[in-house]
Amino acid sequence: MNNVIALPERVGRTVLDTIEDWGRPWIFLLKVMVAMVTPPFRLRLVLQQILQIGVNSSLVILLIGIFTGAVLAVQGEYTLAKFGATAYTGSAVALSLIRELGPVLTALMVIGRAGSAITAELGIMRITEQIDALRSMAVDPVRYLMVPRMLAGLIAVPILTGMCILIGILGGYIVGVGLLNLSAGTFWSQIQSAITPTDIYSGFIKSFVFALIFGWVACYKGYTCGFGAVGVNKATTQSVVTASVAVLVIDYFLTSVLTRWFMP
């Protein structure tokens, strides 16, 4: 008789635990969102985090931007030459960067650099009881720690994406015009004629969504970090892997939706 009751109980417990595990990150996100739009607002902390996430990531973003643009120009020219269409190299570089590579590469770099740092920092704060100390002092850790980081991500990542795209196009120009002898006038005029406002909106929407994923995953993994050095190690690895995979998967769905619904 006991076994008859125990089995459904075990199944029920597993189902409830699974629902709880899936629900917890969403409840966390909801709490952060509510705290974002309700006072008190801590502008100083947001600015500090913009410095950490945005300003300190800008050099690496500029580096990957310029070399990605350069590689796109080389590859684009090579491929387009087979069709006698090298004049379109500029538009190929710009479109690839604006619609796809700019938002995705920036997000991946920010996740690797700033996301891992956020998770490790929050994780260490968790295991050294600093988060408990905040709560004991009647300071809400969600407002004090999570909101500034997520808001800073939402502000900094789209700006970094813009920088990555612009420097990438410049990299493409330097290689295309300077090394591959493409016409400078054609390079720029093709970009002007190929790029539409919807391409830019599309890139911006993607960078905004990726920024949300970056902040959400980094903060949640740090906040729920396990015990000891192993816990921080695991949380940091999970944070980078989860956010990176999520960015790539969501990028596919966003591209599908944005292309189908918003492209002329």
Partner: protein
Amino acid sequence: MVLNRVNLEIELGKTVAIVGPSGVGKSVLLKLIMGILIPDEGEILIGGKNITEARSEAAKNEIRGLLGVLFQSAALFDSLTVYENVAFPLTERAGIGRRRSAKEVHQEVTKMLESLSLTEYATNYPEEISIGIRKRVGMARSLITEPKVLLFDEPNTGLDPLVGQEVYDLIRLCRERFGYTGVVISHELPEVFQVSDRVAMLLNGSFIADGTPEELLKSSNSAVQQFLNGRIDGPIKIQ
């Protein structure tokens, strides 16, 4: 279930030590008092206010405003200096207690640093000071809001005997000066007796002894005697 049938009333202005072997739920009890964990049943009243009934963080924070906590590792914020750590509760907790101007905050923090002999460390970061000084900074941070109840989580665990004694002296000195009600979680016996008016021993989720330090020393309970004398053989099984 870590704790069961735990019943303890603490007189205003007195200090109670909650002792017991590792893993019996002493720190869990502390987190329950702070409202960080929620019990399945029962209630915890602090100054007549029930923290277990407070559902929102704001309601809990109102009660937490009565508390100060000295954590085991002091739990200072790494990115803040000693001065900023001590000022933190005055500047960052919103809507609780009296609102202070920047000048008032500076005066109060300076006074607190002076009274705990911390002035010379004001501009240092936690990583630059010894664990004994960190504990003192943690104490200053807890006391700056003039709490009614001060909780100490293993105040001298991991410290050498001299620094450990310094921390106990500090607890005693601060109690005389600030007059708080204290709860000390510890497994350091008999050292913890010097700061306790009363001692309660936790085992298997509930209190098995409760009385003055002298009463505990004379207790006929075999588990209490085993713990006091640090014997391996006895009813307490090492986990």
